[in-house]
Symmetry: C2
């Protein structure tokens, strides 16, 4: 059987993970590429897509609140940790599908996935060598130079934990005026322009920008829109490159 | 009236923010220093201290779930955003106390505070020039060299958003064996040892460590224990230094 590729949608609460999953699924449908969708968020209320495998069939955050008599904070932590116990069941369920791609929608709060061991267990079970993450940058925060750098640190933190190739994308780019969009993607291409723009906000070392760029932490940012489907082809092409062109993975990861 | 100092406990879900707040409050009690405690977490179930001002008096995550008929994810985002609308009320309530220090326990999920505008609004209302954050590093994740670097990126992301001096501390250090504790604090003092230890896990550039250190992102880590009260005096001393010794704040922030 051909190896499936897992595409994890990762990002902070409200960054558009579920809508990205829906849009990328629509794109794969259009390309007639077999795929399945896994929902890993036990706290999801409404999903814009129909998941093929859904952790909520086993438990939800609301169930956990009731069963363990805990508040929403405790229930989210418990249920994020419980996901790991279902990792193999999810893989078994996926065997029923002949999917080339598996889109994985991760828990609402990013830190529940990236900063707890359940995320690691899920990845090891699904397969680290055939997984990639799409990191969704919040478009409102990314408009400020310091907000954008803060997002660079945040996705660098995630990539070190998840240890799989990561594609940083600018989420909900349809919400941004054209010149703002150009400014933000400009920063990701040219740290010097980012350095100039940040000086109005605060003083940061010029070295920082060059080092972040040299280390591969500041990486070209792909604007996407889950409303128009903009950028989905770019993401697809990058995943193909990562897995089928023999490019050095290390250089893509960090 | 003398200026109050706000001490924000910041960290990922389960990093021990509420217990730290309790332990630091006990320390201030012991030193006979007037202080007040603010709970900013509308999802808190049980708190180990008695808050003087509590957002839960205005709303809780459970209330929001019911009132807006949303799931736990949506309710946490809505209630985190609603906190901002109470920023001035909190300051007004605090005026009833003659507190030199105000300890602020932030929402359970770190990203709800650092990555949404309500965090900025709270800080602007409380006062950025008399606020400091104590960032609690998870002791389990910080044991792995890559986990520790991931935490360095995470707190660097937070400090850029919050824009106030930040004190990184190793939380729940009583859970770690003495030699592990020494290893982790050793990394924060000497990037070369961190570089050596990380090679077993993955290959990262040696430059990265030196640059993170040179830029002031890898900073001495203070081990604390909210069980024994260990490290509270160190934190108190650092806050005093930041606010009363005239040290250059910029060099402390980044």
């Amino acid at each position: 059987m051909e190896e499936r590729i897992f595409v994890f949608a990762v990002g902070t609460a409200g960054s558009g993970k579920s809508y990205f999953t829906k849009a990328f699924s629509d794109y794969l449908d259009f390309k007639k590429i077999d795929h399945a969708i896994v929902n890993l968020d036990p706290g999801a209320d409404y999903l814009p897509y129909e998941p093929d495998v859904d952790v909520r069939e086993w438990f939800t955050v609301s169930d956990i609140m009731e069963k363990y008599n805990v508040g929403p904070n405790g229930a989210q932590i418990i249920s994020a940790d419980l996901i790991a116990t279902r990792a193999q069941d999810i893989v078994d369920d996926l065997d029923l599908y002949s999917a080339e791609y598996v889109l994985v929608d991760t828990p609402g709060q990013m830190e529940l996935f990236t900063m707890r061991s359940s995320g690691e267990i899920i990845l090891r079970t699904f397969g680290v060598n055939n997984s990639v993450s799409v990191f969704l940058l919040d478009p409102v925060i990314s408009q400020q130079p310091s907000g954008y750098i803060s997002m660079v640190f945040l996705y660098s933190s995630a990539v070190l934990r998840l240890n799989i190739p990561q594609i940083p994308v600018l989420s909900k780019s349809d919400l941004l005026p054209e010149h703002t969009l150009r400014k933000i993607t400009g920063w990701s291409d040219d740290p010097e322009s980012l350095y100039d723009d940040i000086q109005e906000e605060k003083s940061l070392s010029r070295d920082l920008f060059h080092v972040l760029k040299d280390l591969g932490l500041i990486r070209p940012l792909i604007p996407v829109s889950s409303v128009s489907g903009y950028g989905m082809d770019d993401i697809y092409d990058i995943i193909q490159e990562i897995y089928f062109s023999g490019e050095d993975l290390e250089s893509i990861r960090y």
